[in-house]
């Protein structure tokens, strides 16, 4: 009898040992797609004991929607998983303790130290621990509110190690207004942007000041001299920042159109550069994370696809019907620099065109916006702070890993480091001082 008891105890001890040997630390990170490239870089650059093995969806780590990193940190087996769904969606998932709207890669995903591309082993639906956000949580719908049956509390802010910078802020994220391939406009003011995103389309003459550019409509298609608004869905921090920046209000509704192929009755969203756009329709209604979004208030779920969509041929696209028919026209969209820049070629005949904003051009400075003085000295104001938030009550083993990523971004890998900025603002869209 004694022998059996001893064996059972030994077995239990062995089981516990095996369990502890496999007790890994997990950080699941979601949120801003605009900052994914910088975050993936930062994750690889934190203090792993040895270079981590990793894998990602798609063909490049910088643009991957999901990624997994695995290795040891201070001797502890550690997984960091990312699934980028947009800032608002990230805040919603973390503040509401909900699954991310796109699942994480599974532990069993094949990884390598050189990075394994194009993996498809999604399916880890564990709720995320932390999120990156282009906006303050206080600007979000999901802040100290109850929507449906879900209550959204206040999130904790990551510790970047800075005693002076705003809590949880890891860097700055710049944005651009861009217009579609072939467009003739060069600048947009905050007033014009308010008008455009409220009404959905405005006459070209408001952008050029030329009487010959007054847009007309007719059963024959009018003269096509119209500028149409397009953009992201309400999960996007880029959208919230843009609407706050132009003075419309971060949570305001918008009137946006969808570049499409197919027919007006059965439009197909354009997601590839160079597409011939045949119809332009009010952005179809949808339901995002259980919240109904009305026609025209919806938008692209991906900034990359939005940038590619406006890099299409709009010459023959048709909007409306009968006496309200418009043929042709151009789009304006708000984009993160990482999405916009690959589609900007410097020629309106081959790529999208960056607009100056209130007369100031951010420019494409070879990807290093730390050197853009119009941004860092406050002349160009279309930017926001990038934040890392996490759930309250997370184990310190998890927050320690999150804080390492936050500090790495803050100190080194942010798109624009706070140390580069000579100006600041108190919240999204606030005065730059």
């Amino acid at each position: 009898m004694k022998s059996i008891a001893s064996k059972l105890m030994l077995g239990a001890a062995a089981f516990a040992f095996i369990g502890s040997a496999h007790a890994a630390t997990y950080l699941r990170l979601t949120g801003s797609s605009a900052y994914r490239s910088a975050v993936h870089t930062a994750i690889r650059n934190i203090a792993w004991d040895a270079a981590p093995s990793y894998a990602y969806t798609g063909t490049s780590l910088s643009g991957a929607s999901q990624a997994i990193f695995h290795g040891n940190i201070a001797g502890v087996d550690t997984y960091i998983k990312t699934s980028w769904t947009g800032s608002e969606a990230g805040i919603q998932a973390v503040a509401g303790d909900l699954p991310a709207s796109a699942s994480f890669l599974q532990d069993s995903t094949t990884t390598s130290t050189s990075g394994t591309p194009s993996v498809t082993t999604n399916g880890d639906t564990t709720h995320p621990d932390a999120c990156m956000s282009d906006t303050f949580q206080a600007s979000s719908v999901f802040y100290n509110s109850t929507i449906g049956s879900v209550t959204y509390g206040t999130l904790a802010t990551a510790n970047t190690g800075s005693g002076t910078d705003p809590a949880g802020v890891v860097g700055v994220v710049p944005f651009k207004f861009c217009t579609s391939r072939g467009s003739v406009i060069t600048d947009i003011t905050s007033q014009l942007a308010q008008n455009l995103y409220s009404s959905g389309k405005v006459s070209l003459s408001l952008f050029t000041g030329n009487s010959a550019d007054v847009g007309t409509k007719s059963s024959g298609g009018g003269n096509g001299k119209w500028i149409f608004a397009t953009g992201r869905d309400p999960d996007s921090g880029t959208r919230l920042t843009a609407l706050a920046e132009i003075g419309l209000g971060g949570q305001s509704g918008v009137t946006q159109f969808q570049p499409s192929t197919g027919t007006a009755g059965s439009p197909v969203q354009v997601t590839a550069a160079g597409t011939t756009i045949t119809v332009n329709v009010p952005f179809p209604a949808g339901t995002i994370n259980g919240i109904a979004i009305g026609t025209g208030n919806n938008g692209y779920s991906s900034g990359g696809n939005l940038a590619k969509a406006i890099n299409g041929n709009t010459t023959g696209m048709v909007n409306g019907a009968g006496s309200n028919k418009i043929t042709g026209g151009s789009y304006v969209a708000y984009l993160g620099t990482s999405d916009a820049d690959p589609q900007i070629t410097g020629s309106a005949s081959t790529g999208i065109v960056e607009l100056s904003y209130n007369g100031v051009t951010l420019g494409n400075v070879a990807g290093d916006y730390n050197t853009s003085t119009v941004l860092t000295y406050g002349k160009y104001t279309f930017w926001g702070y990038e934040h890392m938030y996490y759930k309250t009550g997370l184990a310190t083993t998890v927050t320690d890993v999150a804080d390492k990523v936050a500090k790495q971004l803050h100190d080194t890998d942010a798109v624009v480091k706070l140390s580069s900025m000579k100006v600041s603002r108190t919240t999204d869209g606030a005065v730059v001082q």
Binding site: V141, S145, I147, G148, Q194, N195, S198, S199, G200, K201, V202, K217, G247, L248, G249, Q251, S252, G253, V254, T255, P282, I291, A292, I293, G294, T295, G296, N297, N324
Partner: protein, 276 residues
């Protein structure tokens, strides 16, 4: 059946109908907003609550028989007993009807045109004046509908009140609450006038009558017409009367009162003369 008995029966039947119309509201159910829907909104000067109901598409009002009256509480499914909500301490309090601080308005519109046949940018709005609102450009009116859809999105995030499946009680500190679109509300929602469109306001005190206009933008017809008027009683019954019957002006009531007093005086005087 004598007259008294008939009246009693009618009253009981009406009360029964009202009860049917206003009962069975557990509260906490999902609400929704669709492009083209019409809102009935209430707010209180200096108050901390607003109250908003989605009345649905404008068909009910546009197709009403001229001169007919519709009690919304018993006609619109889920409307319920909004008087109970409005008079509750957490909304406007028991003196909501008479304290001179609670305003209402009815507002709606469509961004892209709706099934009813309204063209893009068509607006509906109450109006304290008998002169209909002036149509604006297509873009301006679509912008106003965009503000309405912003209010609608905020409305759709909430759940219904205890007494109405369509009623939502909002805090005036919540972004894009109904009060923020009315005079004194936040910029850019109101810009000092109702929905940044109707100058100075499309509201009236709850114990007044408001005209109701359909406004078609300049590029789509350039018309604005009175389609009826709204009134509310102290119990929270909301009545829409379709245009076609005379809309009583305050001056009409004053003339009616004066003529009644004059007739009374003449009868009194004739009786006294006869007695003499």
């Amino acid at each position: 059946m004598n007259i008294k008995k008939a009246l009693t029966t009618t009253c009981m039947a009406t009360a029964g109908l009202l009860l049917i119309g206003q009962s069975a509201h557990a509260g906490g159910s999902a609400v929704s907003y669709n492009d083209g829907d019409i809102f009935l909104g209430f707010r209180q000067t200096g108050g901390t609550s607003a109250y908003l109901l989605d009345l649905g598409q404008p068909d009910l009002f546009m197709t009403a028989t001229p001169g007919s009256s519709i009690v919304l509480n018993t006609t619109i499914s889920g409307f319920g007993d909004i008087g109970a909500d409005l008079s509750s301490a957490s909304v406007f309090g028991s003196s909501w009807y008479t304290d001179g601080n609670v305003f209402f308005a009815v507002t709606g519109g469509t961004k892209f045109g709706d099934n009813f046949g309204d063209p893009e940018g068509t607006l509906y709005s109450t109006n304290p004046s008998s002169t209909p609102w002036t149509p604006q450009s297509d873009g301006s009116q679509v912008s106003t509908v965009n503000r309405l859809s912003t209010a609608g999105f905020r409305y759709s995030l909430a759940t219904s009140s205890a007494n109405s499946d369509l009623g939502v009680i909002q805090s005036t500190s919540t972004p894009n609450n109904y009060a923020s679109f009315q005079p004194g509300g936040t910029i850019p929602n109101s810009a000092g006038i109702s929905f940044a469109e109707w100058n100075p306001t499309n509201e009236g005190l709850v114990n007044t009558t408001l005209y109701f206009n359909q406004i078609i933008s300049r590029g789509n017809g350039d018309t604005s017409v009175n389609i009826g008027f709204f009134s509310i009683d102290s119990g929270g019954l909301v009545t829409f009367t379709a245009a076609g019957s005379p809309i009583p002006e305050p001056s009409t009531y004053a003339l009616l009162g004066m003529s009644t007093a004059l007739m009374g005086f003449l009868i009194f005087r004739r009786r006294n003369v006869r007695k003499a």
